[in-house]
């Protein structure tokens, strides 16, 4: 296990991950930068601080599992895994994203990168998978945890609420959902497409332990994940307030960059901002 990293180190990794994200998507000329950038600090905190894992042993039975249910944010996960040193996620190949033959598929695909844990991309599926993993861990008396990152628009899917009921009913306290609440989905602002508020009340009434936090404040993310791990008898959802496109000024809070690649000029500008 690697030594504990300081917050400053984690922030530096998050910045590198953001650079990878915009470069990858720029090279691919398509993809979803906004939701990758909003999730970067959470994904980095999970992979470099909170989760029990060993990139040299991706099939280690006791590892924690992470499922990126909002699969269109694949670039942030690829970049984090590459930075973490997974052999199946080579860092020098990140810019092959979305190209034929690349392990970096448009959405996460376990056939190409087994360490991804799940193939996602069709929204609404990941939480059920994470809960199933939680059931398996409990049956085995194992202490590993499963984490699932959800998009805010994604929870408009009915399956999420089937899963929410299941998680609370089966008291799966080894499962933690993290909602990347960046307030923007493909067609615009979430509140204008299909309002999801009151969010905390919804999850609470479904029986989940709920926490709200700033999803770009690494100490807050660390504290929330620790509280989730310490919470017994019910699963936890972290409602992480984030900024879509975080880190690149012209992408921030801009629905255009939900699913649009930066032009070469925009890419250059983005990389300057992420120095």
């Amino acid at each position: 296990m690697p030594p504990k990293r300081s917050v400053e180190e984690l922030q530096a990794i998050a910045k590198r991950v953001r650079r990878h994200v915009v470069e990858m998507i720029g090279a691919a000329k398509s993809g979803h930068p906004g939701g990758s950038l909003s999730a970067a600090d959470i994904v980095v905190t999970l992979y470099f601080d909170a989760m029990r894992l060993d990139p040299a042993r991706p099939d280690w039975a006791e590892r924690d599992r992470f499922i990126l249910s909002k699969g269109h944010a694949a670039p942030v996960l690829y970049a984090a895994m590459a930075e973490a040193g997974y052999a199946c996620a080579p860092i020098d190949k990140l810019n092959t994203l979305r190209k034929l033959g690349s392990v970096y598929q448009g959405h996460p695909d376990v056939r190409f990168i087994p360490a991804l844990e799940a193939s996602t991309g069709s929204l609404g599926n990941g939480l059920s998978l994470a809960l199933g993993m939680g059931c398996a861990a409990r049956l085995d008396g194992a202490s590993w945890r499963s984490y699932c990152m959800l998009g805010d628009g994604e929870i408009q899917e009915g399956q999420i609420w089937e899963a929410a009921m299941f998680g609370a009913f089966h008291k799966l306290d080894n499962v933690c959902a993290i909602l990347d609440y960046n307030r923007i989905q493909l067609d615009g602002f979430v509140k204008d497409i299909m309002e999801i508020e009151p969010l905390r009340d919804k999850w609470r009434s479904f029986g989940w332990h709920t926490l709200e936090l700033d999803g770009h404040d690494i100490p807050q993310i660390q504290a929330a994940l620790a509280e989730a791990a310490a919470t017994k008898g019910k699963p936890t959802v972290l409602i992480a307030h984030t900024v879509k496109g975080k880190g690149v000024s012209f992408m921030e809070n801009n629905p255009k960059f939900h699913g649009m690649a930066p032009t070469p000029a925009e890419l250059e500008l983005a990389l300057q901002e992420l120095q």
Binding site: A61, R111, S119, A136, F169, H170
Partner: protein, 321 residues
């Protein structure tokens, strides 16, 4: 199975009940076997498993989509989940999850649909499943099974648990006529000749295997020697058995309790077209939903009994000339 013996109609248990009993057997053999249920355990007979192994039985509520996803998560963490509901519910409401959570990543999930076909009877078309073979076969990597009786169900359940990869098994509500002697061996993907014959081959699956055998007896009296083959595995299809049937008997009838669109028939026809084209006829439900009624009345009304199989055989034999 030769020489030719007359088929004796004797009912065993429903294939859904044989499934429920086989689950208990599997549960005893393997601690990794788990079961997911969507509030139908008394109907699917997973209640037998629930009584024996309450810790490994997961009540999912009436929420099939999540149930399939949960099973996929369990499978990726090393469990062997059996997911069960009525065929129409698990296959239709869980199809997206079967696609992205099970077929696409090839997870080791076993899906058993009960109450397949129209022979569920009085509950009517909303509970009947006449499309699921087509849906299951459309999922890459899926193995699709359709046992004819309790012996076949038990053997195929054991084979399903022993293999790695997604399986869909189709079982029925009504008591199923016994086709096989106890101890009959089954191999997934290998069709079984249940009656010899040389003039025509009836390829049947599920409840229609017994109807095909009854039809073959009638036809023998008319001087038509009909071979009957049970395709208990619909996917992967036993292409060699199709080729052999076409080459040796020169005509094929396919009989199934399913829509003729997208069922076993079209898969056999595709194989025959590629390997050895021959005249073919099809017995199945034709472009309609059924209705309420007693199971035997429905099978009769919708043309799924021995009489209909025999008529299709006469027709296809005429086309041989």
């Amino acid at each position: 199975m030769s020489p030719r013996t007359k088929f004796e109609l004797k009912y065993g248990m429903a294939t859904r009940e044989a499934f429920g009993k086989a689950l208990v057997q599997l549960g005893k053999q393997n601690p990794d076997v788990v079961v997911c249920d969507a509030d139908l355990s008394k109907s699917t007979y997973t209640t037998y498993f629930a009584k024996e192994f309450p810790d490994r039985f997961f009540s999912c509520g009436i929420a099939e989509a999540n149930m399939v996803g949960v099973a996929a998560g369990m499978a990726s963490a090393g469990k062997i989940p059996f997911v069960s509901s009525f065929s129409c519910f698990v296959m239709n409401k869980g199809f997206e999850q079967l696609r992205v959570g099970v077929a696409y990543p090839n997870t080791n999930v076993k899906v058993v649909g009960t109450h397949s076909g129209i022979s569920i009877g009085e509950d009517g078309p909303s509970q009947m499943s006449i499309e699921e073979t087509s849906l299951a076969c459309s999922l890459p990597g899926f193995t699709v099974l359709s046992p004819a009786d309790e012996v076949a169900t038990t053997a195929l359940m054991m084979a399903s648990a022993a293999m790695k990869g997604p399986v869909f098994m189709r079982t029925g509500r009504m008591k199923a006529p016994i086709v096989y002697p106890a101890g009959q061996q089954f191999e997934i993907g290998k069709a079984i000749e249940v009656a010899p014959g040389k003039d025509v081959t009836i390829i049947a699956t599920g409840l229609l295997v017994a109807e095909a055998l009854r039809a073959a007896d009638t036809l023998e009296e008319e001087g038509i020697s009909a071979r009957v083959i049970d395709f208990h595995t619909i996917k992967p299809l036993d292409r060699e058995a199709v080729r052999k049937a076409a080459a040796e008997t020169g005509a094929i009838v396919v009989a199934e309790e399913h829509l003729v669109d997208g069922g076993l028939g079209v898969r056999v026809a595709q194989a025959a077209a590629e390997l050895h084209p021959c005249p073919m006829e099809f017995v199945g439900v034709r472009n309609t939903y059924a209705e309420s009624g007693a199971p035997d009345q429905l099978l009769d009304h919708y043309g799924l009994v021995a009489r209909d199989v025999a008529e299709a055989v006469r027709k296809v034999v005429r086309r041989k000339r």
